[in-house]
Amino acid sequence: MSLVSALEHAVKKPVFGCQMCGQCVLHSTGMTCPMTCPKTLRNGPCGGVRENGHCEVKPEMRCVWVNAVTRSATLPMLPRRWRDEIDDVRAPVDNRLKGTSSWRNLITGRDKATPVGWPDDGHG
């Protein structure tokens, strides 16, 4: 792990439960990390959410996406553009980026690279 990714992990792990996927989308999911969903869903809640809003897999945990949807609408200081991005269709995770710094990948644009066959209109 590079110095940058170690620093990123040190900052984001305690606050967001960061899993170091290397392609951070926190800003478009109400500052709620979708990689903490047991199914690592990037595009919204599964159909198994319990009546009390808790996770199908971990009954003691509130559904990550129930939080994300609520927070994207209510978090103060979140720019309008970021609030709207919750409805974007996010591309599949690039598993090669796991453990790398999403800060670096943001600067280089590496985190925006999608498979050649990923439909352009799939970006939402």
Binding site: G48, G117, G122
Partner: protein, 313 residues
């Protein structure tokens, strides 16, 4: 008729689909036996993909068997058990055999099944799976490598009006439609008000015009099964008063049929609903009896009437 499901949905005709009971042993004879109870009422039959996270005959093999029995299959695919390579292979392999209806789901977690120690995959989510199937239908794998000719897929998905966050469900369904889904088979719902609210928003936002929405109705034999579903199937709530009504009935199976009929009737009469998806745990003629009571007609009766259930643009 080839592509019956697509043809009817595009014409706005009433569509009735059902779930094939899971198949383990028994071969194609068992598939034929199960279909015989309901085939004449159905436009297409869903082949599930390790339903409820229990291993069964694979959806591609089951779809082939359904086709051999003269019915049109809808091959379900879930994200739980396969990575993107395996999912693409399955879609292209199914298309080779003329199986082009693909319904994309997230899938129950492994912990809902009888092998909770298995590794869960979820390399893609259901929306990404829809988008990937759409890319295949447009002639490329996810890598960009071309498929010539492109398989003519008819892609669907699922949404659950009965699970939180309730006010996000139509927006999530819209994501699936934007990714390429043309029909949505809803999760079983015993809560009519939840379905009403979902459909009202689906009509108001235009979702119901962009995709055919098929609410699901579940037939069971008694209060025990309703309690089991309520306790064990993720994302489905059976209201306590419904369980109490069935429990108090002299004939519980009849009471379950009455409840299913009431839910199905109400769903069919709800604006924006394009048809029904029927699921039975009974392994008998329950689905046919429900269709007769609903007066939806057999498939050939519906086709000879040629009536338009809804107008879709």
């Amino acid at each position: 008729m080839a592509d019956r499901l697509r043809d009817k949905i595009e014409r706005g005709q009433l569509v009735v689909t059902a779930e094939m009971p899971v198949i383990d042993g028994g071969g194609i004879d068992d598939v034929r036996y199960q279909l015989a109870f309901m085939a004449e009422y159905l436009d297409a039959v869903n082949a599930t993909d390790n339903a409820a996270a229990h291993a069964h005959c694979s959806p591609l093999a089951l779809s082939l068997a359904i086709k051999q029995c003269g019915m049109e299959p809808i091959m379900q695919l879930v994200c739980r058990d396969r990575n993107r390579l395996a999912l693409q292979a399955e879609i292209v392999g199914a298309a080779m055999h003329g199986i082009t209806n693909v319904c994309c789901l997230t899938g129950d977690d492994v912990t809902a099944g009888d092998e909770p120690e298995a590794r869960r995959v979820f390399d893609l989510d259901s929306i990404q799976l829809v988008a990937m199937a759409n890319a295949i239908a447009a002639g490329t794998y996810l890598s960009g490598r071309t498929i010539t000719p492109a398989p003519d897929l008819f892609i669907g998905a699922v949404e659950n009006p009965g699970a939180p966050p309730y006010d996000y469900r139509v927006r999530r369904a819209f994501k699936k439609v934007r990714a390429g889904a043309r029909y949505l088979q809803l999760q079983i719902s015993f809560e009519a008000e939840r379905l009403d609210a979902f459909m009202a928003e689906a009509v108001a936002t235009g979702l119901a015009e962009k995709a055919a929405i098929l609410p699901s109705i579940l037939l069971v034999r008694g209060a025990g099964a309703l309690k089991f579903v309520n306790a064990n199937v993720p994302g489905i709530v059976v209201p306590a008063d419904m369980i109490a009504r069935v429990e108090a009935a002299a004939d519980q199976q009849q009471a379950c049929e009455d409840e299913a009929f009431a839910l199905a009737r109400r769903a069919l009469d709800t604006p924006g609903v394009a048809g029904l998806h029927l699921i039975s745990f009974r392994r008998d003629a329950g689905i046919a009896a429900l269709c007769r009571r609903l007066e939806v007609g057999t498939r050939s009766e519906r086709e000879s009437r040629g009536d338009h259930h809804l107008l879709r643009v």
